[in-house]
Symmetry: D2
């Protein structure tokens, strides 16, 4: 059964595995202090056009989130997140486990705005309440939406005005940047945020998220934080090698573009057949709404996750495409939809 369950159901792009094989028996310095990692960092610095950034490559997204947030905040400070934010819902309280409240803000499209953040600031007035200090956003978001340059500029200005750190979770950064409606670059994002990351796990690496810190106050002693949270990989060059391949040429973008193209084929077919969507996504996650009856039939042919119930007889499902999604898989789904 073909799976549209997520964008991390397959391993890595063959070039990445090939590079690992070639380096396999060469002795390396451990803990990400090796030449591959240094080279990967150089490539990313060029890509973001920011030589002063501190860059650390970390195995997973939840790790990266909890390390970054707990490194940035003093004990009584809190992070603001859209209610759909990964840190708010899907990390088993990882942020709270480091001692910090996540201030959850309902946002229909999964995105924060200056107005929404302002409301949080207005509510938190004294030492009997947590002190909001960081704004957490995702691009693309957990529901497939993405920030425009104007939106990110407005949010960035607001955060700087109010001395809030702006942190972008880029687990699905590739999907956002290669979406047909995108107008942001990694260079923009490096300029407009204080810290963000570029996701490898969901875009063709075995694992790995490249965390980029541009705000000077967040840089000191960051490796202590990584180590303390158990996130310093002994054979750290494995992370370096993967990001070398992703950014040696355009592999990172090529894979994301493929994922989005596969999603577009699905979206077009669904729209053509008159189905609607729970969220307005131009990236690799789609949330079509089907009757329960159709969903039951779909389940016999494809694997996917349920999103949420829409009404008594309809639900939204989640379809995810990836760098590895085959046109054959997509075509099978499209034909199925057309046959309904």
């Amino acid at each position: 059964m073909y799976s549209f369950t997520n964008d991390y159901s397959e391993g890595a792009h063959p070039r990445i595995l090939q590079a690992m094989l070639e380096a396999n028996l060469i002795q390396n310095t451990g803990y990400s202090l090796d030449a591959h990692t240094n080279h990967a960092i150089e490539l990313i610095k060029e890509e973001i056009n920011c030589r002063e950034a501190d860059i650390h490559i970390i195995v997973g997204g939840t790790q990266t989130n909890l390390i970054t947030i707990s490194a940035a905040l003093r004990p009584y400070q809190a992070v603001i997140s859209p209610s759909t934010g990964h840190i708010n819902v899907h990390e088993t309280g990882a942020i709270e486990a480091t001692g910090h409240k996540v201030l959850s803000v309902p946002a229909a499209d999964g995105k924060l705005t200056p107005a929404l953040v302002q409301e949080v600031l207005d509510f938190h007035t004294d030492e009997h309440m947590v002190q909001p200090k960081m704004v957490y956003i995702s691009n693309s978001t957990e529901i497939g939406t993405q920030y425009t340059k104007a939106e990110l500029e407005a949010l960035s200005r607001f955060c700087r005005l109010h001395d809030l750190y702006l942190f972008m979770d880029g687990a699905r950064m590739g999907a956002a940047l290669t979406s047909p409606v995108n107008d942001l670059t990694l260079e923009d994002i490096a300029r407009l945020t204080d810290v963000f990351y570029i996701g490898g796990t969901k875009n063709g690496a075995l694992f790995g998220e490249a965390l980029i810190i541009t705000c000077d106050r967040l840089k000191p002693d960051f490796r202590f934080m990584i180590k303390q949270r158990g996130a310093m990989l002994a054979k750290g060059w494995l992370l370096g090698i993967q990001f070398e391949e992703l950014f040696r040429d355009h592999l990172f973008y090529d894979m994301a573009r493929h994922a989005n193209a596969m999603a577009s084929m699905l979206r077009d077919a669904l729209t053509e057949q008159g189905f609607s969507f729970a969220y307005d996504s131009m990236t690799n996650q789609l949330f079509p709404i089907f009757s329960d009856q159709i969903i039951e039939t779909l389940k016999q042919h494809f694997t996917f996750n349920m999103d949420r119930r829409i009404d008594e007889t309809h639900s939204a499902i989640r379809l995810v495409t990836s760098w590895a999604t085959t046109e054959a898989g997509v075509r099978e789904f499209v034909e199925f939809i057309r046959s309904l």
Copy 2:
């Protein structure tokens, strides 16, 4: 200027201070292992008619909340609270600082119901999300409302069915139990919850909250938790003496009844003059709605806190009465209202 700011603006009932004076130069065992504390515990056990309870008297409410919740939960477990709950809003993230997420549930009247808790359980389905394990409620609530016996019985049944701990914050327990609409007793509450406390600070003690644990699983090693959080008072008999006085006869109830009577005088006058309230409280906290103009005038004669803006020209304020509120103070306010 007379103050209706809160119910902890004065010291303690003179009988309590007198008892402290009498014991002052007698050598006592420290850390709540003294005879006064033992006696106070006996008096409370009689009052709740539960000999098997474990009882600890702790200086403050935030301490009591954070100790109880962090003692009860495993690291990945969360506590469900009404969005207005003290732990959710007014404790500077104290619960999160012990590592646990507070799952905030909007509830117009500040009270949780089985249906509201069920929604939280339905949403939390697997190990990618926190595991809800405790339900936190307050009686009376932060907005002056209170649980009926039927409501508490329903919630208790639901929690036992779903293996959730039920924890009642009783910082304003006196106000709830002596309210004209109350039908609960401390014995009922001991039977229907797993752990709850009886507030002294807001009902005529200098400080002190008596925590009553009836659930066996929550009892072991509790004094370790109290000590670790810095809440084991060296001269613990000061807590014991205060609760001896509160429960030696009916002082606890008498003081709360007075606070409620003073609030009733205010409520009646406000109703009579046609003012409405933001919340429907029959306890010692009132939330009348006034025009901004009236509020400005009020501020010149009385001290109180703002609650929230109602519309462009009106806000709710909070008036709190206490065991020490004088009839003269109340009459001054009533006359002022009648003169408007």
Copy 3:
């Protein structure tokens, strides 16, 4: 049976209780924002001759330690303590519960020196180990010893050179400052440390430790920390009133001097009778060594704690005197010793 168990077996100096009684029915602002607290802070600022200090009065010592240390350190930083330090042994892991390692250093006399701290620094070389950032000392120490001015100056110089915070636990500050061998003043201590506190609980207050922060980096948002740890007393003026009395004239010193004088009477008698001591204390804690047989007899007439076994037939016990220790109690002990 007369008790030499500790210096917090009685309540408070009568003047303190009297002041509480007088203020009892006056409405006060809560949370230590009242006039009594402000006045107490002014008195302490004069005493330490440092107008720029931030001062917070907190109920207990463990609270004060855990708040101060967790406010000062980033997550991967550690505090260095003598192995006998209160935070290392007698706080149920309160510091670790805030996330920080206590680096324990054996020190025969309970005191840290630059050389001892240097060894810790030498050992901690990279991000695989915690980063030592604070030095915790007590004066007087848990074994009754105390720092000379020269010792504290040397340690202070060393800490500033190595960018370590120097924190002095002054739960028994009174006993240290009024000891016959003392050459330090509160002004010296304010100048030589970054943060320290003056203990009330063990010197004649019901409770209360006045924390004095002189290092600017430790000042911001400290009230958030106090509140989050459940240590912001609702009726905070109770703390203020007590320190007003302690420092309005010389009550603080007078009470400590009395405790030391009572200890001297015991020490002289013990020395005269040929007993030796486990530690060399000139303050209000004595650690005489007795045969097991004598200890058994002593237990029939006095209450005290055991310290530790010295050899197969001897142990050290701990005798503590206080502001409230009576000459009659001391004389009874002295006569008993002479009768052996």
Copy 4:
């Protein structure tokens, strides 16, 4: 320059990489719920002869330690470790960051005994101190020593008698089990401990530690703990594939045996030349003592870590061999030693 710095300087055994390549484009369920992981778990259960064990494969050792310890302990409980234990020295306070004290016990050979643990229990008598609840040991230890069956049986009996969890860090389990002086099997270890792990990272896997929980009380909800600490690998089958290869036949043992054989060649040559060792190791870590002059020369030809200074002119260095250490590399070192 040939490196004896550690046993994780190369990638993985070619068979492991080959297996990853073969599975690369097959769609898998994420988060270690895949068939490879299930198969690896079955193979390990056979190896330990314990069908009831719960097994989780986790990326790294520090992660595994902090998850296991924080899952097992209540907030006020502590773990006992030899002072040389990895959790005590080389994890940047990772255990304390989860809230728990590490009780460090000096042990010359890096191993705990019932007598050493008894001393810790004797010292911790009441709720003013942490409660020791877990004993942490490593096999082989951080200084290359290892437990005999008799030693482990004695420690296991003691722990069960005192209701202490016994946790064995097996990051270098392979080296211990294939050492010429070993008399333990994985089946013995599963029977004698409550929880332990089998290290992949330091024995020929890219990464991965297989945690085996035999104590029923430690099993519930363990995946919540893994997820919350950011340790649930999205592409979890990568862990499964590696342990399938390690335990499909005897690859795990073969690789460790090779590492030990290489160490034996070094040990024999050093002994033959009259050099002594700081610790008595029969595994893949050696700690020979050299004059500073020899060390300087060695550094020009080989890479290795310093261990510690022995006297004014001598230090111990650490030489580590691995599954990938070549006989040529070893021979080069041996010849160098013989030429001195």
